[in-house]
Symmetry: C2
Subunit: 485 residues, 2 copies
C-alpha cells in the first residue's frame, strides 16, 4: 500500500504512534475514561497521553495538564471536551506538532450561529487545515483493526466481536462507532472489519478523502458509506469508478433525500439540502449499491465480504436457481427475481436427468431451475443428499449464477453437515444465498453455522432477492464501464 | 358467533367432535403417526379414530381397518395417503356420513393429466362437493386454537408456542402449518392465533369461504391471506369491504404476479396465471394491506394484533413523531416516512417547552417532532426519564399519531423499566413502534421484553416505517369507505 502524498496525513489517524486524549477522566463511568480503557483493552500498540487540567491518574497513568507538558512527540489528538474549549486545544496541538485531531464534541455547524462561529475560528487557527487535519466535529472517530480485536479505537463504547477483515465504513454518524457497532458485529460475527470512520460534520476530512485512501489499501475490498450530504459529487463519481476498476464494491446509504429528511439531517450534522434528482443521477453514474437503511447497509456489506472470501463474486449472468421445501416461498422468490430483473432459466438436459434421479417416479421436478425438494427428500430418505446434490446440479449449469436456498433448519431432526455445502460453493465458485426457517431457537444456532461457512443468511425472501439483485446490478455496471476505457 | 347457513359446514373442520385419520401409522417416525400424536399433545377434546388397513395400534389406540368399522359418528377425516387411494376413501367417508375431509396428499391439479383426472373423479363422487366438503388436496390443513396450546391440529408438525389469540391465517401453502409455524410463533410469541388454514389446491373450500367465516367469528380481528390465484375476485372485494366495516384487517400476500412467478405457482398448486394489472386493481379496491413476503405477512400481522390488544389502532392522521439516540437513524426514518406519505409535524408551543426542559441550555430540541435524545440523557442523567417523558410529550400532541422509538438497548448499563412505556401507550391510546439496537445477545432479551408489553419491534428502519405506512393506508381506505355507504 503506497498512499499518494495528499493522503499520507491519514496514516496518523489510522496508525498513530502516539495519541493524546483531551478530556480523559478519572471517573470510570465517564466517556473520557472509557476512551482510554478502550485503547488499552484493544492492545493499541502506540503511546497514550491522557490530558486533563484537573490532573489525577487513570488506569495507572498520570494525567497531563496540557499537551504541551508531554515530552515526547504526539501524532494524534482525541478531543472529548465541551465545544467552547476546542479552539484553544487545537492551537496547543498545532504548537506541539500534532498531525491530526478527532473532535468528538458536538455543537458546531449543527446548532446555529454560535456553532458556525466556532467552525470559522477553527478554520482560521488551522489556516484552513494546513497546520493540522481534523476529523469531526460531532463524531465518534475511528476504529482501525490490524488483527482480530487489536488496533486503534477512538470511541468510548467498548467494541465486541472485532474481527479484522476487508470492510471499511465511512459514516456521517457517530452512531456507527458509538452504538450500532455491537449490533451489526454481533449479528454478523464473521464479517471482518478494517476501518470504521465516523466523520461527523466533516469540517475537514470528508468521505472522498477516505474513499480514495481505501482504494490504496489492499486489505480493503468493500466500502460502506453513510452520508447526509456530498462534499464533492463529481469527485465522488470519479472515485467510485476507480473502485470498480479495482474490483472494490461501494455501498451507499444516504439520508436527507426528502425535504423532510433534509430538515432532519440539517439539525443533525448541519448538512445542506441537496437536489434529489441530481443525487439520484449521481448514484446511477457511480454504480454504487444503494442501501435502504442501516440494516441493509450491513446486510449487503456482510454478503459481499462473504462472497469475496469464498471467491464467488464473479457475477456475469442475471440467472438464479431456487431450491426450496416450500413451493410458496419459491414462487415469491421467483416473483421478486423477475420484478428485479433476474431470471430462472430452463435446465439443460443433463442437469434435468441428474435432478430427476432424486425424485419419485410419480413426480418429476420442474423443467426450470426451481427445485421443490420435499418429494425428493421423501424419496431419497435423506435431506442432506437432496440438499447437496441439488445445489451441485444447479451450480453446475453454466447458465446459473447463484442458488437461493430455502432451508428448513432443524438440528434435532433433519441433520445435515452444512460444511459440505461450503465444498459445493468452493467447487463451483458460485454463491448460495440462504433463507432459513424452523424453530426460532434452533435457527439462531443455524445462523451461526452458516456464518462460520460464510454463506449469507437472510430473514426475508424479498430482502434475499433484493440483495442479490443490487449486487448484480452494480457488477453489470462495472462490466459496462470496461467498454468505455 | 352465528355462522350463516352456507358456511356452517366449516364448524366440522374447526371444531370436529370426532376425527378419523387415514394413513395413521404405527411407526413413530412417520407423519401418519405424528398427526395423531399432535392431536393428543394439544389436548384435542374430541374423539380420535386412527385408520390403516394394516391394523396395529398407535399411542394406546387400535387402528381401524376402515372408517366403516367405526361404530360412532365421524365428523371429519384427515387423509394422509398416496393420491390414488383418495377417491375410494372419500366414497367411504360419504357412506359413513363424514361431513368434511382434509386431503393432505399431493399429486392432483399440480402434476399433469393423471392429477387432473383424479380431481374430476373427486368432483363426481362428491356430486360437486354437496355430499362432503374438502380442504386441499396438497395441504397441511388446520390449526384451530381454543385456548393456549389447546385445540385442533391436523398437521404432522409439532406446534410450539401456540398462544391463542385473534389472528386467522388462510394460506395456499402447506408450508405455513407444516414448517413456518414454529418460526413465526417463535419470533413473535405474543402474537396469538385463532386459526391457520392451509387450503392447498382448493378443490372445494377456498379463501372466500374462510374469509367470510372469519368475519362472523368475534374472536378474529386480523386476517392474513397467502394466495396463488383468486377463486372469485369480485366476491373477494365484497368480503374485504365487509371486513373494513367490521374493523377487521386483511393482509394479503400474493405470488405469481410475474409471468415467471406464475410458472412457479402453476407447478405448485396448479394456479392459473392471472392478469397482474387486474389483480393490482383488485388490491386497490379491497383496501387490503399488501405484504411483500412471508416475513412481512407475519410482521404486519403481529403489529396489528399488538395494536388491537393495546387499543392503539385508531389511526386518523399520517403524522408521526420520532425519538432517537441517532440523528442518522432519525433522518432515515424521516426520509422513508416522507416517501411513504407520512409527515413529521411541528411541535405546538406547550409540547416544545416541556421538551426543552429535558435539554441542556446550550442545545435546544428540534422544533419539529424529531427528538434526538442523547444530549437530553446526558443533561438529565437518566435514560429512563428521557424516554418516558419524551414519548409522553409527543403522544400528547393531538397532531401526532404514533411514535417511532429508536432504542439503544443495554440491560447492563442503561436500565429502563420498559413496562412504564406500556403505561404511556395505554394513557394516550397511541402506538409506539420500536427499532432496537445494541449488543446482539442483549437485544434478544430486549425483544422478549417488548413482546411481553406488546410494543412491536422491527429490525430495519425502512421496514418499521413501511409497516406503519401500510397499516395507515388501509385505515384511510376504511375511512373513505364510510362516505360511500
Amino acid at each position: 500500500m503506497t498512499v499518494p502524498a495528499h493522503l499520507t496525513f491519514l496514516d496518523a489517524f489510522f496508525h498513530p504512534k502516539s495519541v493524546a486524549i483531551f478530556g480523559a477522566s478519572t471517573n470510570p463511568n465517564k466517556s473520557g475514561y472509557k476512551i482510554v480503557e478502550n485503547l488499552l483493552n484493544h492492545q493499541y500498540p502506540g503511546k497514550i497521553f491522557p490530558i486533563n487540567p484537573r490532573g489525577g491518574s487513570i488506569l495507572g497513568m498520570s494525567l497531563y495538564k496540557s499537551v504541551l507538558d508531554v515530552a515526547e512527540p504526539v501524532d494524534l489528538a482525541i478531543i472529548f471536551v465541551p465545544n467552547l474549549h476546542v479552539v484553544k486545544i487545537i492551537e496547543q496541538c498545532i504548537q506541539k506538532g500534532v498531525r491530526g485531531a478527532i473532535i468528538e464534541a458536538a455543537g458546531f455547524g449543527e446548532v446555529g450561529l454560535e456553532g458556525k462561529q466556532l467552525r470559522e475560528k477553527l478554520r482560521k487557527v488551522t489556516e484552513n487545515f494546513t497546520k493540522i487535519h481534523i476529523i469531526g466535529p460531532n463524531c465518534t472517530g475511528i476504529t482501525a483493526l490490524d488483527e482480530d480485536g487489536v488496533g486503534f479505537f477512538s470511541s468510548f463504547i467498548p467494541m465486541a466481536n472485532t474481527k479484522a477483515g476487508s470492510l471499511a465504513i465511512v459514516s456521517q454518524s457517530g452512531f456507527i462507532n458509538g452504538a450500532y457497532y455491537p449490533d451489526f458485529t454481533g449479528r454478523n460475527p464473521q464479517m471482518g472489519l478494517r476501518y470504521v470512520v465516523a466523520i461527523g460534520n466533516k469540517l475537514d476530512v470528508n468521505e472522498n478523502h477516505l474513499l480514495e485512501y481505501f482504494l490504496y489499501d489492499d486489505n480493503v475490498s468493500t466500502i460502506g458509506i453513510y452520508i447526509e450530504s456530498f462534499y464533492d459529487v463529481r469527485q465522488f463519481i470519479l472515485l467510485t469508478r476507480q473502485a470498480h476498476q479495482l474490483q472494490k464494491d461501494v455501498i451507499l446509504l444516504r439520508s436527507g433525500f426528502s425535504p423532510l429528511g433534509a430538515k432532519a439531517t440539517g439539525s443533525h450534522t448541519g448538512a445542506l439540502a441537496e437536489n434529489s434528482a441530481l443525487i439520484e443521477a449521481v448514484i446511477r453514474q457511480s454504480g454504487c449499491i444503494l442501501a435502504d437503511d442501516f440494516w441493509e447497509l450491513f446486510l449487503i456489506s456482510r454478503t459481499l465480504t462473504f462472497m469475496k472470501d469464498t471467491g464467488t463474486n464473479n457475477l456475469v449472468l442475471p440467472n438464479i436457481g431456487i431450491i426450496t421445501i416450500s413451493g410458496a416461498a419459491g414462487a415469491i422468490m421467483t416473483d421478486w427475481s423477475a420484478k428485479m430483473g433476474l431470471s430462472v432459466p430452463d435446465l439443460d438436459e443433463n442437469s434435468y436427468s441428474r435432478l430427476k434421479e432424486l425424485y419419485p417416479p410419480w413426480m418429476n421436478p420442474n423443467p426450470f431451475a426451481l427445485v421443490d425438494y420435499w418429494p425428493a427428500v421423501e424419496h431419497m430418505k435423506s435431506y442432506e443428499k437432496v440438499i447437496l446434490s441439488s445445489t451441485d446440479i444447479l451450480l453446475s449449469c453454466p447458465d446459473i449464477q447463484v442458488v437461493f436456498l430455502t432451508v428448513y433448519y432443524s438440528a434435532s431432526s433433519w441433520i445435515v453437515d452444512w460444511a459440505k455445502l461450503k465444498d459445493t460453493v468452493e467447487k463451483h465458485k458460485k454463491p448460495i444465498f440462504v433463507w432459513l426457517f424452523g424453530d426460532y431457537q434452533e435457527i439462531l444456532q443455524g445462523e451461526s453455522i452458516f456464518q462460520s461457512i460464510e454463506l449469507p443468511v437472510f430473514y426475508s425472501e424479498k430482502s434475499l432477492v433484493q440483495t442479490f439483485s443490487k449486487i448484480f446490478t452494480s457488477y453489470s455496471f462495472r462490466d459496462r464501464l470496461k467498454d468505455f476505457k
